[in-house]
Amino acid sequence: MKPLLENNLPAIACRNLRTDYQSTLKRPILNGIDIQINHGEFVALLGLNGAGKSTFLRSLVGLVPVNQGEIQICGTKVDREHIGEVRKNVGFLFQGGGLVDQLSCLDNVLCGCLGELTTWQSLWGFPKRDRRVAMQLLQKLGLQEQIYQKAKQLSGGQRQRVAIARTLIQSPHILLADEPTTGLDVSGIKQVMSNLQEMHRQGLTVVVVLHDLALAAQYAQRAIILEDGKVWYDGDCQNIERQFAQLQFTQLQGEMQGKSQFQSAQAA
């Protein structure tokens, strides 16, 4: 793994982040987000469906265009010009793994090296050195028997571990994980979260989107709750259940208000 950046710049810094207006939501998905995450933090990103968690994570690696505001990753601005440099520092775990089903586990992991190879170098396969590293990573993650198996033959937990190996081969400073435990059984969830914890121990900054408050409290140091595209809560994980209950209460109040307005409009 690469040594941590020696400057004092935060790992992730976002200022007044806004995306395009969504007519279905009647607001932008991200509606003025200010977040700063320092190197070495383990952050759980929480919120109800449609709060903007995945969009926020995707915007950090330039997969979602940002309309207003600024994102900096390790001091580098996320824009068209610097996106290659930004992605060099970031690994991304997609929900379900984001693997190519028809490729073997080994080839899927090796795909993480593509950015380091020219098109010509990767045209006829991958260098021996990279293959060796990929095999070691798969072995370390307990997938030695699945090295040559096609990704579509794997279970949900195994897929996510292959995706972790693909991320690790890039030696990133920051790991962004978008609902990595969705659809996994209890042992799969435990394995994936332990892997993330191990990566955090080795110095990686981890930002993970979760729906399970207990998991967030168990593994993360800091919780950020998003609501309506804004930061609702940013603090330690001990408080999150109370924060969530408050959030739901506020939402319910809003719905009741909306309903009474609808009824009075009907009566009129």
């Binding site: 997969l63 060099k88 984001g98 089903d101």
Partner: protein, 271 residues
């Protein structure tokens, strides 16, 4: 209960009741019936005409039997030429379809390029194979080369569309994960798009090869080579028994190729 009543009164305003549904269904059936009657009148099909033409049809069919096996070698030779035409026509078409499909795919190309490529696809698809056959016969003369080129162009109209749909059905997240790994456009195509679309595209290409054998038989009618050329000559010369031999040989070969290619297609699907 009061709340439920409110919901019912609200939903009844936006959801049609059962009677309205039946009226709409009835109107659709009446509309369809009218369309069929209108089309029949436009075609001027007279049931009496079918009745009087029945003896002519049976007479034509009876003259086909028994097949004249003395031209078996001619039939086999013409059929081999047809398969060769289909093989090369499909291959030329498949190769030319790849760039057109890439340029037409929603997940790979910008809107302006997509629109241009789709327009080209539609233009090629709207030209009947027989017109392409006539065009290439005029350009290269009678025989198999004209038919092969006609099949090649005809194939683009269909395979480019099939390939495009295969590319568009690629899992978006798998491509994004390669994008985040800083893979180049070509690397994404090689390691993300190709492994996912190749089994589908091979299946479509095999289907097109099968279809082109039948299409090549039709092209022979305008002198573009293959079994159709011999077939139409025998029919024009009232040698129906020889024409029957040609059709039987074609039936056997098409059936064998159909069985083999559907087995191969199933294998590709499993991969």
């Amino acid at each position: 209960m009061k709340f439920l009543d409110q919901i019912r009164s609200h939903t009844s305003k936006i959801i049609p009741n059962q009677n309205q549904v039946w009226i709409i269904r009835g109107l659709v059936i009446i509309g369809l019936g009218w369309a069929y009657i209108w089309s029949l009148q436009g075609l001027k099909i007279d049931p009496k005409l079918i009745q009087t033409s029945l003896p002519y049809m049976t007479d034509f069919l009876s003259r086909l039997w028994p097949p004249d096996l003395s031209i078996f070698d001619v039939a086999v030779k013409a059929l081999i030429e047809t398969v060769q035409m289909s093989l090369w026509g499909t291959t030329i078409g498949a190769i030319l379809s790849i760039p057109i499909a890439l340029l037409s795919a929603r997940n790979l190309s910008p809107l302006w390029l997509r629109s241009l490529a789709s327009l080209f696809q539609n233009a090629v698809r709207s030209v009947p194979s027989i017109i392409l056959g006539l065009f290439f016969v005029a350009a290269t003369g009678l025989g198999a080369p004209a038919g092969t080129l006609a099949l090649g162009i005809y194939t683009i109209g269909y395979l480019a569309k099939f390939y495009q749909e295969a590319i568009e059905s690629v899992d978006k997240r798998s491509l994004e994960s390669l994008q985040v790994s800083r893979a180049s456009w070509w690397q994404i195509a090689q390691y993300g798009v190709m492994p996912q679309v190749l089994p589908l595209c091979l299946g479509y290409t095999l289907y097109m090869f099968e279809y082109n054998i039948r299409a090549a038989s039709v092209l022979g009618v305008v002198g573009a080579g293959g079994i159709g050329f011999e077939l139409v000559n025998y029919i024009r010369g009232f040698e129906y028994n020889k024409a029957m031999t040609m059709m039987l040989v074609l039936l056997v070969v098409v059936t064998i190729i159909d069985i083999l290619s559907s087995q191969l297609r199933n294998k590709f699907k499993a991969d």
